[in-house]
Amino acid sequence: MSAPTILIVDDEAHIRTLIEQTLEDLEDEGVQLLSAADGAAGLAMIEEARPDLVFLDVMMPKLNGFDVCDAVKHRLSLTETHVVLLTAKGQEVDRQRGRDVGADAYMTKPFDPDALLAHAREVLGL
């Protein structure tokens, strides 16, 4: 069993940095952090690296987060991959769509870094 891997998919570099810094502590504990700047790259990386946890932005160029999640859960049937949709779209319609595409959790921006870290710990069992 290799080290646990977390993938961060967001087109905003600031946000990627923010999440990376939030999860900095986990890196010290051996968790590998990966990141991708758009949906297509994210999906390719999921397919290749099979991360345990994905923080996935929704509104991204090339491929949006819903489609990425749908592909992961339904096309690739990677049901063990825990997908957290992390988006500024906080309406119930969006949450429902998230559930429909099989997302495991839904977090809205601006997020609480502590909550995000706690969630990651829970998912990874650390």
Partner: protein, 1075 residues
């Protein structure tokens, strides 16, 4: 009206009068008038005349009857009794005549005496009556002739009686002699009988010996010789006996001999034989001879002498001959008597007939007399009526009634009978004159009234601002006002005048160009106008030649006329056109506004997103910096330099400010979005049972920090048992938080009180502060969006300014009201009231609907199919009570199952979606989310709809329909064994097979959905539309999937369909799919 009244009068009142008058011929008026005498007096006189004749007729009748009675009396008193006497006498004579034969056949002396006495009595009575009658009767000569006849019969009967007496004596002697003969004969017989018997026995003995073989020939011949000797000795005796028998026979015939000659023939041989026998008696033994001689002496007595049979028989014959003579004599006497009696009866009949003839004569005379009198009486009555009553009364009455009829018929000028005399008829005629004069006066007055009314009507019509025209039943103009003429450009009457037909008017106005017809020809216009006129409907419009518009309203009236009103609507038409322009502009403006609004919504959504992203960075990094500062930098800064330490403190404070402001900005953005969503209808609302107590509790917990920060007291005044309301729990909590935060914000000292109360059908919550208060002129503004009270230039606005507006929108959405009571400087009270949820825990809790795209539905269903259970089952336990969860976990893990837990309905649905448990144990009553709601949400999620659910509840559901939709319902406290049995059974069955109603107009979609449902283990019931729902049966559907939008129907219509009101509903929305 007048005509009707006249008809009714004519048909009723005078009718009897006419009928009475008609039979009487017309007579010249009152020729026999007796002046000074009233109708009553005359009628009395006539009555007395008629009555007098009737009395005379009655007297004549009585006289006739008296005459007839006398005649009948004569008959009854004289003729009838006489005839009766004669009939009686004749009857008695008849009886005497019939008595003779009776006397002749009597058999004893007693009988003879009684018959003879009866006859004597009869004769004596007859004699007496005859003598009586002779003394009184006029028919004595006949009676005198009767006397000798009766005397002869009487004498004859006396003689006859004597003979009969003699015959009876002779009969006695004859009977005596016959008896003696018979005795003698018997005695003689006894004398010879022993001898003969002896001989007979010897003969019989000999014959027996002769036939048998006991004796020899010699013996037999010896015996025969002895027998012969015996017979020879006995032969003379036998001969004697024979002679005596013949003697007796001859004597016995004598009593019945019919004549003397016959007697002689019989008696002469008797004498000889007697002599003969007497001589031959010596052959007999002595004893017998002696006895025989005695008997012979008797025979001799009977044969000869006075008492012999012959002598007696001769006497009898003599008496009989005498009797026959007497009877013959009697018969002739009777014949004479009967002849006389017949003469008597005939005389009686003749008397009766004569009396009858007399009576008949009297009767016919009386009848003629009576008829004459009655005829005279009738004739005089008729004469009285004819000459008197008719002439002086009826003729005048007829004349009077004719006048009355004429007046009633409306002819007030009809001639009236002249007054003649002083009787009642004259007075009636006078009264009629008065009546006629009054009627004439009334009529004249009525005519004046009518004229006045007509003038008023004309004045009124003239005063109407519209043109008025009245056409009669033949469509001719009968009445119109000046305005009408003005409107059709004809004030001087050059074009239109009274009496013109509508067709003529239409033609004239069209031909002169007064009217712009718009029709192909003038005739076409005229025809159209007539059609409109005859069947008037809605008002019609007419364009006039000078550009004006006329509106014509026509209405048929009863009796066949038409009223037409002409209005000048030129101004109205102009304004209508202007208005249409305005409406058009408004529509365009509205469309623009809507487009702008949509753009604003889109803009707001985009801006919020664009704002969130940088905010995410700002807040996130600030939080990280804060953490790094606290965890790493501050401990690492060992500098004691005051400036460094101050800088560190400032950085820490600044970071806190950045975070707070960032959060405020986030809240503002959220509020703006919320308001926008509420305003545009895009907000999604939950609908569940919401406990108000829970709302207050959660909101006070959320704002506790605010109170602590400002050092304010928070007072809760909440009664127990607050009812539930129906609505969105989170939004109600948000409302409450807004109110509390608002109160804290404007209160520097004192307290904030939250008070709840229950009304009849609503629950009320108030938040009372002791803050600055709000001036009354500002109170209306507090609920407006983006407004805060006060001068925004001098006072820094606090908060977003949207909280109250959002609160009001939320309360409005729940059907409640939010209001404010406040005074400047005295604090404020914000209150809201919400309607209490009337529906108890029941099927409604499961009544939810969600929208879903077809693709998502199919994808989710496809996902289910691959997730059949392998290995141990996963069971989700949902309960807010940790001890219950622990208890269930132990039991289920002991049974070999894997257990996951959730503490409320919301998390339960999320967890169920994420982990797909094989079964869910769900508590009904939980604070974080109603269990039934969670069950409904699970049911509406295609992936989880088939997961069996065991409901746990302290109360049993009243609603049977609800119960039917759940897999199992177990009440708390939990019976472990029952629960494990349920769970084992449900796990064994696998996915619960739901009955799903699929309503979609498109057959392909329907089939596709049905296939997907069947593949996921459910039962699909397809229907093409709401009108095509399968008939309700014992197993109603568990949920329905209905397509709405352009291809299907609306959600409201779905809910209105039978059986779908309470059903969990998945709505496939084609519109959202397109979007």
């Amino acid at each position: 009206m007048c005509g009707t009244r006249t008809r009714s009068v004519r048909s009723t009142e005078p009718a009897p009068m006419v009928a009475a008058a008609e039979p009487a011929p017309k007579a010249p008026p009152a020729g026999l008038t007796l002046n000074g005498m009233g109708v009553r007096g005359r009628l009395v006189l006539a009555f007395m005349g008629i009555s007098g004749f009737a009395v005379i007729a009655a007297v004549a009748g009585i006289f006739s009857l008296k005459q007839m009675g006398d005649a009948l009396d004569q008959v009854t008193h004289r003729s009838v009794p006489e005839a009766l006497v004669w009939l009686e006498i004749s009857g008695r004579a008849g009886r005497i005549v019939r008595a003779a034969p009776t006397l002749m056949i009597v058999g004893s002396e007693g009988e003879r005496q009684s018959v003879a006495a009866a006859i004597s009595a009869e004769i004596a009575e007859l004699d007496r009556r005859m003598r009586e009658e002779v003394a009184v009767s006029e028919t004595a000569p006949i009676l005198n002739r009767l006397g000798p006849a009766v005397a002869a019969i009487s004498a004859n009967l006396v003689a006859l009686d004597a003979l009969v007496q003699e015959r009876l004596v002779l009969e006695g002697r004859m009977a005596d002699a016959t008896r003696r003969l018979s005795t003698a004969n018997n005695a003689v017989g006894r004398l010879f009988v022993p001898t003969i018997r002896q001989l007979d026995s010897q003969v019989i003995q000999w014959r027996r010996l002769e036939e048998g073989d006991e004796l020899g020939e010699a013996e037999l011949s010896g015996r025969a010789a002895a027998l012969a000797r015996e017979i020879a000795t006995l032969a003379p005796q036998q001969q004697l006996a024979q002679q005596l028998a013949e003697l007796h026979e001859a004597l016995a015939k004598v009593p019945t001999a019919a004549s003397r000659a016959e007697i002689d023939v019989l008696t002469i041989p008797v004498h000889q034989r007697l002599t003969d026998v007497s001589r031959r008696t010596e052959v007999l033994p002595a004893v017998i001879q002696q006895r025989l001689d005695r008997q012979l002496a008797i025979y001799a007595e009977l044969a000869r002498g006075e008492d012999s049979l012959a002598a007696i028989r001769l006497e009898e014959l003599r008496v009989l001959a005498g009797a026959e003579d007497l009877l013959a004599e009697n018969a002739s006497a009777v014949g004479a008597l009967e002849t006389e009696v017949e003469a008597l009866v005939e005389a009686a009949y003749a008397g009766i007939l004569q009396s009858r003839a007399e009576a008949d004569g009297t009767a016919s005379f009386s009848a003629i007399l009576m008829m004459s009198v009655v005829f005279l009486s009738l004739a005089s009555s008729v004469l009285i009526i004819w000459l008197y009553v008719n002439r002086s009364l009826l003729a005048r009455l007829t004349e009077l009634s004719d006048s009355m009829l004429a007046i009633a018929g409306g002819n007030l000028r009809a001639p009236l009978p002249e007054a003649s005399g002083d009787d009642e008829i004259t007075r009636m005629a006078e009264a009629l004159t008065v009546f006629r004069d009054t009627a004439v006066e009334v009529e004249e007055q009525n005519l004046r009234e009518i004229a006045r009314a007509r003038q008023r009507l004309i004045d009124a019509i003239e005063s109407i601002s519209e043109g008025f025209a009245f056409f009669d039943a033949d469509d001719r103009l009968e009445l119109c006002n000046t305005r009408y003429r003005e409107l059709v450009s004809d004030p001087k009457g050059n074009l239109i005048h009274i009496g013109m037909s509508l067709a003529e008017i239409a033609k004239a106005t069209a031909a002169t160009g007064v009217v712009t017809t718009g029709d192909a020809s003038i005739d076409a216009y005229v025809n159209r106008r007539i059609d409109e006129h005859r069947a008037p409907g809605a008002p019609t419009l007419r364009r006039m030649g000078d550009g004006r518009w006329l509106q014509i309203s026509e209405r048929r009236i009863e009796g066949g006329g038409t009223v037409a009103l002409y209005s000048d609507v030129t101004d109205i038409k102009r304004r209508e056109a202007e208005l249409a322009d305005l409406v058009d502009q408004l529509g365009r403006a509205r469309e623009e506004a809507e487009r702008a609004n949509e753009a604003k919504s889109a803009f707001l959504a985009n801006v919020s997103h664009e704002l969130r992203t940088p905010l995410t960075s700002i807040l996130g990094f600030a939080r990280i910096i804060q953490g790094r500062m606290t965890d790493r930098i501050i401990p690492a800064v060992s500098s004691t330099e005051p400036r460094v330490r101050r800088a560190v403190e400032q950085v820490t404070q600044n970071l806190a400010i950045i975070l707070a402001e960032g959060q405020r900005l986030t809240a503002l953005i959220n509020n703006v979005l919320d308001l926008e969503k509420i305003a545009s209808g895009g907000m999604e609302w939950e609908s569940a049972q919401v406990s108000i107590a829970e709302v207050i509790e959660r909101s006070s917990a959320a704002t506790a920090a605010l109170f602590a920060e400002k050092g304010l007291n928070f007072v809760l005044q909440v009664p127990p048992d607050l009812p539930s309301v129906r609505g969105d729990r989170d939004k109600l909590v948000q409302t409450m938080i807004n109110l509390l935060a608002n109160a804290v914000k404007f209160t520097e000292r004192g307290s904030v009180t939250c008070r709840a109360s229950v009304g009849e059908d609503e629950v009320m919550v108030s938040v009372i502060d002791t803050g600055v208060g709000i001036a009354s002129e500002d109170q209306a503004k507090v609920f407006e969006k983006f407004r805060q009270v006060g001068d925004t230039l001098t006072e820094k606005p606090m908060g977003t300014g949207l909280g109250l507006a959002i609160a009001k929108e939320i309360i409005d959405h729940h059907g409640g009201r939010l209001w404010l009571e406040s005074a400047l400087g005295r604090g404020s009270t914000f209150s809201f009231a919400l309607p209490v949820a009337l529906r108890p825990l029941g099927a409604a809790a499961m009544t939810r609907a969600r929208k879903l795209s077809r693709e998502a539905l199919l994808a989710a269903l496809a996902h289910v199919d691959g997730r059949r259970r392998k290995g141990p089952a996963t069971i989700l336990i949902v309960d807010d009570d940790a001890s219950i969860r622990q208890l269930l976990r132990q039991d289920l893990e002991a049974a070999g199952h894997r257990v996951i837990e959730a503490t409320d309905g919301q998390r339960a649905t999320e967890l169920a979606n994420a982990r797909m448990p094989n079964l869910i144990v769900l508590d009904v009553l939980m604070p974080g989310g109603d269990g039934l709601e969670a069950a409904a949400r699970l049911r509406l999620e295609p992936r989880t709809m088939g997961i069996p659910i065991v409901m746990l509840s302290v109360v049993a559901p009243q609603d049977q329909a609800l119960r039917g939709r759940l897999d199992r319902w177990r009440s708390k406290p939990i019976d472990k064994d029952e629960l494990l049995t349920d769970i084992a059974a449900l796990l064994e069955a696998g996915v619960s097979r739901r009955r799903v109603l699929v309503v979609d107009p498109d057959p392909d979609t329907r089939a596709e959905l049905a296939d997907a449902l069947e593949a996921a283990g459910h039962e699909a019931r397809p229907a093409s539309g709401l009108a095509d729902l399968p008939a309700s049966d014992a197993c109603p559907p568990d949920l329905a999937i209905v397509t709405t939008g352009p291809a299907g129907t609306g959600v409201d219509a779905v809910r209105a369909a039978p059986g779908l009101a309470d059903l969990p509903l998945i709505v496939l929305d084609h519109t959202s799919e397109d979007a």
